[in-house]
C-alpha cells in the first residue's frame, strides 16, 4: 500500500491511498484503502492515509478517527495520531501518515516498521523505515 497526504499554502488538505491488497488474498476482497473514513480521509482539519491490516483499519475507521479526536477532543495532530494508533486498533497492526491545515505533519505505527517520508515548508525533511 502507498499513500500521500498534503496541505497546501491555502490550508487545503488532501489524501490519496493505492494498493494491490494482501498477498494470496481471495479474489473480490476489498480492503481499507478504497474505503473513505477507513484507509483515506481528508476534511478542513486534516488529511490522513493508512496502511497495514485492512480489516483492523476498517473496524477502527482509522483515518476519520484522527479528524474526530482533533475536532471533539481538541488534540493536536501528533497527539491525535498517537491516540488513534494506541486506542483504535485492538490487536491489529497498522500505520498512518497525516497533515493538518496549519502545516503540521505526523505519522504513527504499531508494527515493526513503516516506509515513510515527510517534509514541511520550513525545511524539515525526514525519510525512514524503522522506529
Amino acid at each position: 500500500t502507498v499513500g500521500c497526504v498534503v496541505v497546501d499554502r491555502e490550508g487545503r488538505c488532501a489524501a490519496a491511498t493505492s494498493t494491490g491488497g494482501l498477498m494470496n488474498k481471495m479474489t473480490g476482497r476489498i480492503g481499507d484503502s478504497p474505503l473513505i473514513g477507513a484507509g483515506t480521509y481528508a476534511c478542513d482539519v486534516c488529511g490522513v492515509s493508512c496502511t497495514g491490516e485492512g480489516e483492523a483499519i476498517i473496524r477502527g475507521t482509522l483515518a476519520r478517527e484522527v479528524a474526530a479526536v482533533m475536532e471533539y477532543k481538541g488534540l493536536g495532530l501528533q497527539r491525535a495520531v498517537d491516540f488513534v494508533i494506541k486506542n483504535r486498533l485492538d490487536e491489529g497492526k497498522a500505520g498512518l501518515i497525516a497533515v493538518s491545515k496549519s502545516g503540521e505533519v505526523a505519522y504513527g505505527f504499531n508494527c515493526n516498521g513503516m516506509f515513510r517520508g515527510c517534509a514541511t515548508e520550513d525545511g524539515f525533511m525526514e525519510v525512514g523505515i524503522w522506529e
Partner: protein
C-alpha cells in the same frame, strides 16, 4: 497564507531482515516522491493534484505494493484499489477490483470529478475507465517476479501476507536454520535471511 506540508508512505509491517540495499532503494523512492510533491507545492499546485501526482509515481514504480508491483491474489492475478479525498468540500472518489488500469488513483480522481458516485468497483470501474480514456494495460504488466516468489511462499505457508517484501536473495541459504516455532506474519521466522 499558510505553510505547506507533505507526507508519503510505502506500507507498514516491514520484514525485519530486509536487506540494506532494498532499504536504500525504498528510501530513494520515498525521497524522490517527496521532492516531486515539494516542487509541485512550490509551484502552487492544489493539494488534491499533488497527492494524485505523488501516488501515480508510487504506483508506477514496482517497489511498493500498488500499481506495478501489486500483491497477487490466490489466483496469481492483480486486483487493485485506491481512493482520494479533497478536504475543503470533503469530495471523494474510490475504485476497487481494477485489473487493467495503469494508475488506479487517477481513476479514483475521475470517479470524484466526473461521475455522480463516490465508489465504482470491478467491471463497472473498468467500463468507466474506458469511457474516460485512461491508460489501460494487460494484467501481466503489474506482476513482478518478486511477487510471484512471494505468492509461492505464502501458499507454502498457507497464509495471507500484508505489506512487506521477503528478501529475494539469501532465502535459499536460511532454510537450513533450526525450525523455530516463531512466526512472522504467518511465515516461519526461519524463512528470513539471517542478518
Amino acid at each position: 497564507m499558510g505553510r505547506w506540508a507533505i507526507a508519503v508512505h510505502g506500507g507498514a509491517g516491514v520484514d525485519p531482515n530486509l536487506p540494506l540495499e532494498r532499504q536504500e532503494e525504498a528510501k530513494q523512492l520515498l525521497t524522490r516522491c517527496l521532492n516531486l510533491g515539494i516542487s509541485a507545492l512550490r509551484s502552487n499546485l492544489p493539494a488534491i493534484d499533488v497527492v494524485e501526482k505523488v501516488v501515480r509515481e508510487l504506483e508506477t514504480d514496482p517497489l511498493f505494493n500498488s500499481g506495478r508491483g501489486s500483491a497477487l491474489t490466490e489466483k496469481g492475478t492483480v486486483e487493485m484499489e485506491a481512493s482520494i479525498m479533497d478536504g475543503p468540500k470533503r469530495r471523494c472518489g474510490a475504485v476497487s477490483g481494477l485489473t487493467t488500469v495503469k494508475n488506479p488513483i487517477s481513476l479514483a480522481r475521475l470517479v470524484m470529478d466526473k461521475s455522480p458516485h463516490s465508489y465504482l468497483a470491478f467491471s463497472g470501474a473498468e467500463q468507466f475507465a474506458r469511457q474516460q480514456g485512461v491508460e489501460v494495460v494487460d494484467n501481466e504488466y503489474f506482476i513482478t517476479p518478486d511477487n510471484v516468489g512471494m505468492l509461492k511462499l505464502a501458499k507454502e505457508a498457507n497464509t495471507i501476507l500484508f505489506d512487506y517484501r521477503i528478501p529475494t536473495n539469501g532465502y535459499e541459504t536460511c532454510g537450513s536454520g533450526v525450525e523455530s516455532p516463531l512466526q512472522m506474519n504467518g511465515l516461519p521466522i526461519s524463512v528470513y535471511a539471517p542478518e
